[in-house]
């Protein structure tokens, strides 16, 4: 059944490929076609200036093209950007560079680090209203020696100098934390408490849609006991933007 599903997908992809493709004209002296989408694949065909190629699909920074003779191969984005579109203008593609990073809307990623002595694994989804201001939702798993748990947070992030490649941000948020003591120890009851946090961190654009992120947050857990608990967290990780 799995095999038939795969065949079905492949056929569907094939049917899609029959649709009309965008075609571009080579403006450079020549266009190099590689056998695969990567630097390691050899050039097996060259398309000359003035000839047109059809764009079939793209994978990361490589485009699969078909030339007039029906030969199919992969061309790097750098070379594709030197071609002309159907109206004779330099061709434009959706690229993934720093300009797109500055205009990003959605961002998602995973980070890991230390949460008051325990390990923490977090995933987040963010939406940027402006280059400065974004809203984030976080889900975290806390893995400690004596207790495990999870945490959910919502926070606003202010990126003060968004144009810097390595750019600091400040954050403020609230959420809930649930802690369960590890079963082999004495059993105090599980507890769920509200939290608030402030934090500071740094985002760095690495390449294409890829971001490095490091942050420190200080949490206050509003426990049902007499005094509130304070927990410090730091973590590192990666994000993607769309």
């Amino acid at each position: 059944m799995v095999v038939s599903a795969v065949l079905g997908l492949a056929l569907a992809a094939g049917a899609y490929a029959e649709e009309r493709h965008r075609s571009v004209t080579v403006a450079d002296p020549y266009l190099e076609m590689h056998t695969g989408p990567g630097r390691g694949y050899p050039v097996f065909n060259v398309v000359q200036r003035g000839e047109t190629v059809e764009l079939m699909k793209r994978r990361t920074e490589w485009f699969k093209v078909r030339d007039g003779g029906g030969r199919e191969g992969w061309v790097h984005e750098r070379e594709m950007l030197m071609t002309l579109d159907e109206s004779g203008e330099p061709v434009r593609f959706e690229t993934a560079g720093r300009d797109e990073y500055l205009a990003r809307r959605w961002e998602s990623g995973a980070l890991t680090g230390d949460f008051g002595g325990a390990n923490i694994i977090s995933a987040y989804l963010g939406y940027a209203f402006t280059p400065n201001l974004s809203l984030e939702l976080w889900g975290s798993q806390v893995l400690g020696n004596f207790s495990d748990g999870w945490m959910a947070n919502i926070n606003i992030v202010h990126q003060t100098w968004p144009r810097l490649r390595v750019s600091p941000f400040f954050t403020l948020g609230t959420g809930v934390i649930h802690i369960e003591p590890v079963a082999t120890l004495v059993r105090p009851e599980d507890r769920t408490d509200q939290t608030a946090h402030v934090g500071v961190g740094v985002r760095a654009w690495l390449t294409r849609r890829f971001i490095f992120r490091a942050e420190y947050k200080s949490y206050v857990v509003f426990t049902s006991r007499d005094e509130n608990e304070e927990i410090e967290e730091w973590k590192l990780g990666f994000g993607l933007y769309f």
Partner: protein, 224 residues
Amino acid sequence: METRIRVVLLTTLTLALTGCGSLPFLGDEDAADDALAEVPEQVIEPEVERRDVRPPKIDTEDFEVGVFTGLMSVEDFGVSPVYGLRFAYHISEGLFVEAAIGRTDTEETSYERLSGAAEILTDDEREFTYYNASLGYNVLPGEAFVGRDLAFSQALYLIAGIGSTDFAGDDRFTVNFGFGYRLLLNDAIALHADVRDHLFDIDILGEEKTAHNIEGHIGFTVFF
């Protein structure tokens, strides 16, 4: 009778006069039309209408989803079949991120089998489930030839990441690293073979130690 004729004539005259009131404007419009007509006709008519070029969207295939199965050796708990799902996003020709979940059932430890003592873990605790997020890098990309004429794209990749393992009654922070091989049958379907070590701290058999749990699996993925 005469009076009647006079009335008709007067009415006609009045109508004509009121009509004349609007005539000067009409005259002006005519003059404007004449002035326009005097402008020489455009010598070259633009024959090409501006085409509304809306290029078809290019199909981007940066995501990869698939299944895998293989064998996993869980330290002290034997070797058992493992199966799982993987999802990847290719950032560039070299870099990719991957999220995976996997599950295996573990066996009894040698101690449990030889001593015949009570079992250390319940059946539930014996299930080993992991999830992880990893970063991979394609090294040694190239073509693999089958015979003289048939070639497939392939790459060896190094991969490492972090995650959590639910085993022996606890969620354990887990680091994984390893390598894999990807062979693309066509542009959309790839075969994978991976070796991965999952490390976590465990104290179920006395003192705490770092357990190495080595997994070997094969699978296939579809790019979309």
